[in-house]
């Protein structure tokens, strides 16, 4: 996202909540990690049952 500096302080709540941002990063990382891990588990199980 392009952000331009106008010299004015940012609105309240905008980029001023590093602790909130940490929860956001954690949630996205864990959720996507679970989906990727499950996709890999399906792939491995399929290959194993096919004897490859």
């Amino acid at each position: 996202m392009t952000m331009l500096s106008s010299g004015m302080p940012p609105p309240r709540g905008l980029n001023t909540m590093p602790e909130t941002s940490a929860y956001f990063h954690a949630a996205y990382t864990i959720a996507l990690g679970i989906y990727v891990a499950y996709a890999l588990s399906l792939y491995v199980r399929l290959q194993r049952v096919r004897g490859k």
């Binding site: 709540g13 909130t20 929860y23 949630a27 996205y28 864990i30 959720a31 996709a39 096919r50």
Partner: protein, 223 residues
């Protein structure tokens, strides 16, 4: 190497959704970045409910027709539903902590009933692993699959029936959605992407079940 179109499309859609949610959707003024958890939490809950609803439908029809394809579909959808419910149960508390001030509240009916739903379908998977006879396994798990799905309307209506920390619906309410249009579009794209991912997962899991059963039949035939 053959490339399957459904997993490819679903993967691309999920990546595009995450890029849009993270970089091209405005921050919410009071919650900041944490509100963006909404775009993975709500679709995961929607897909989990869809998955368990389809388990119940397939199980009900299985008890009538006794077609093993329906049992395989129910088995596949239940496992994928557990994966999505796990995401709901992890992303929810991560959103709740900065906004509500706590990861979990045992008095919140929606939280606890969602955890209960997760336990029911984990039990469904355990039950399937514990019964050797395919017919008996399919019949018992069909009954559990149907009973578990009865929780879904209860979880959905819990915000109306009990005092919970969860807000009232802001999109799926009788009047027009109160979500700003940019956020609403991201949510809609997200719902479609994760639904595609559900179908890709179920398709792959169903293929695995077919091959596993064929391998078991070959082993039995050879013995």
């Amino acid at each position: 190497m053959r490339i399957s179109w459904l997993p490819t499309l679903a993967g691309a859609a999920v990546i595009a959704t995450v890029i849009r949610a993270v970089f091209f959707t405005p921050l919410e003024a009071r919650q900041g970045a944490a509100q963006k958890i909404f775009y993975i939490h709500v679709p995961a809950a929607w897909v989990a409910f869809l998955a368990f609803f389809l388990v119940a439908i397939a199980s009900g029809v299985y008890l009538w027709l006794r077609d093993p394809r329906l049992d395989r579909f129910a088995e596949s959808s239940a496992e994928v539903g557990v994966v999505f419910t796990t995401v709901v149960l992890i992303t929810g508390p991560l959103w709740a902590k900065p906004i509500w001030g706590t990861f979990w509240a045992w008095w919140d009916v929606r939280l606890v009933s969602t955890l209960f739903l997760w336990f029911i379908y984990v039990s469904y998977i355990v039950l399937r692993g514990a019964i050797e006879s395919p017919e008996l396994r399919a019949r018992y798990s069909a009954v559990l699959g149907i009973l578990g799905a009865l929780l879904i309307p209860f979880i959905h209506l819990s915000v109306y029936l009990f005092a919970t920390m969860h807000p009232m619906p802001i999109v799926g309410k009788p009047s027009a959605p109160s979500l700003p249009i940019e956020m609403l579009i991201t949510l809609m794209i997200s719902l479609v992407s994760f639904t595609l991912l559900y179908f890709a997962f179920v398709r792959a899991r169903y293929d695995y079940a077919v091959e596993r059963d064929a391998a078991a039949a070959r082993t039995e035939h050879d013995a």
